[in-house]
């Protein structure tokens, strides 16, 4: 035990008592439920409410990479579309570029499989796909540069 610290004020003494009481607080779930019931809470309802709240919050949380990726993609899309990457390109050029990028994103075989039937896709769909792939590859390149740096 370290050198003793004598409580000098009521606040310090109160804090010491509170911390001591916390040390003997509820530990197992049976005790937890007992405390909740005694205070008038329904343990099952409470548990279900917290679970639902957590699920909802996680699904829209900025910490969720899908949420932040979608946001980033939207931002990047506006940049890419603004830059007019697909403008002036022929349909064949777009398909060729898509195939090249899919090869580069070799670690995403699911992507490659999903977009095999490029010939059947509309011009609009091809344009959107090219935008997304440009975004993903540029992100992958930035990540590689960061790792090497």
């Amino acid at each position: 035990m370290d050198e003793r610290k004598y409580p000098q004020t009521y606040q310090e003494l109160a804090k010491a008592f509170l911390e001591l009481f916390d040390e003997t607080g509820p530990h197992d779930l049976e005790e937890v439920d007992a405390i909740l019931l005694e205070a008038g809470f329904d343990p099952k309802e409470i548990g279900a409410r917290f679970r639902a709240m957590a699920e909802q919050t996680l699904s829209i949380s900025p910490l969720n990479w899908r949420v932040s990726a979608a946001r980033d993609l939207q931002t990047e899309r506006s940049h890419i579309e603004g830059a007019g990457i697909t403008k002036g390109l022929s349909r064949d050029d777009i398909i060729s570029r898509i195939q090249g990028l899919l090869t580069e994103l070799a670690s995403a075989p699911r992507l490659a499989t999903a977009h095999r039937n490029l010939e059947r896709a509309s011009d609009e769909d091809l344009g959107s796909l090219l935008d997304e792939l440009e975004y993903l590859t540029s992100h992958q390149r930035r990540s590689s540069d960061y790792d090497e740096g």
Partner: protein, 218 residues
């Protein structure tokens, strides 16, 4: 993706059992809050209009949104969440007024602010107060006074709870003498088994909560 959390941390938050954690946090909050306010039930309104479940929900939501960042390198999730709840409850306990008072609005100038200061501190007529005092300094002084008052009430309840019970008095004496407030250190100091300390501390707390309830209920 600068805003995104470390995937491992996010995964841990995603996989945590929030039903279990939520219940444990609420039980912990009740455990602590009873020392401040005595009587707690689902309808209890704490300062600033919060209920106890709101406090726990706020802590969980802020954690899951990344507004408060849990770092697994520094410790497990549940103890960290409990520390957050302690901070919230301590802040509420120190805030202006008890459960039935409205918080004073600092941006309100004029009648409401002066009336509340005068009424709360019994400092005479409004006219005199407004010409001689800085409102923010007065409020700050009042806040400090309230913190001390709160602490003193809590300590009084603990003293009252120990009256006539030697083993409880021994625990209080040990804490006052600077023994670290963990059961194992108290056990060493008093030469009794940890289980006995554990039971005595719980008994002390139970009696102190009862004393707090009596105070709160007038």
């Amino acid at each position: 993706m600068r805003d995104a959390l470390d995937p491992k941390v996010y995964k841990q938050l995603l996989e945590a059992d929030w039903e279990d954690i939520g219940k444990r946090l609420l039980a912990f909050a009740i455990w602590r809050a009873q020392m401040y306010w005595g009587f707690i039930n689902p309808e209890t309104v704490l300062p600033k209009g919060f209920g106890l479940e709101d406090v726990v929900q706020k802590v969980i939501e802020k954690t899951l949104r990344g507004q408060r960042r849990w770092d697994p390198e520094k410790g497990a999730l549940e103890p960290w969440l409990k520390d957050q709840i302690k901070s919230e409850l301590d802040a509420l306990a120190k805030s202006w007024g008890a459960k039935h008072e409205q918080p004073v609005k600092l941006d309100d100038h004029g009648e409401e602010l002066w009336d509340k200061i005068a009424a709360a501190t019994h400092e005479g007529d409004k006219e005199q107060t407004s010409h001689t005092a800085n409102p923010e300094a007065l409020l700050e002084e009042k806040e400090i006074h309230k913190e001390e008052e709160l602490a003193s009430r809590l300590v009084s309840a603990v003293y009252e709870a120990s009256e006539g019970i030697p083993e409880l008095v021994d625990i209080i004496d040990a804490v006052q003498n600077g023994v670290e407030f963990k059961p194992r250190y108290l056990a060493d100091e008093l030469g009794v088994p940890i289980s006995e300390i554990y039971n005595s501390v719980r008994r002390l707390r139970r009696r102190a909560v009862s004393a707090r309830k009596d105070i709160e209920n007038g």
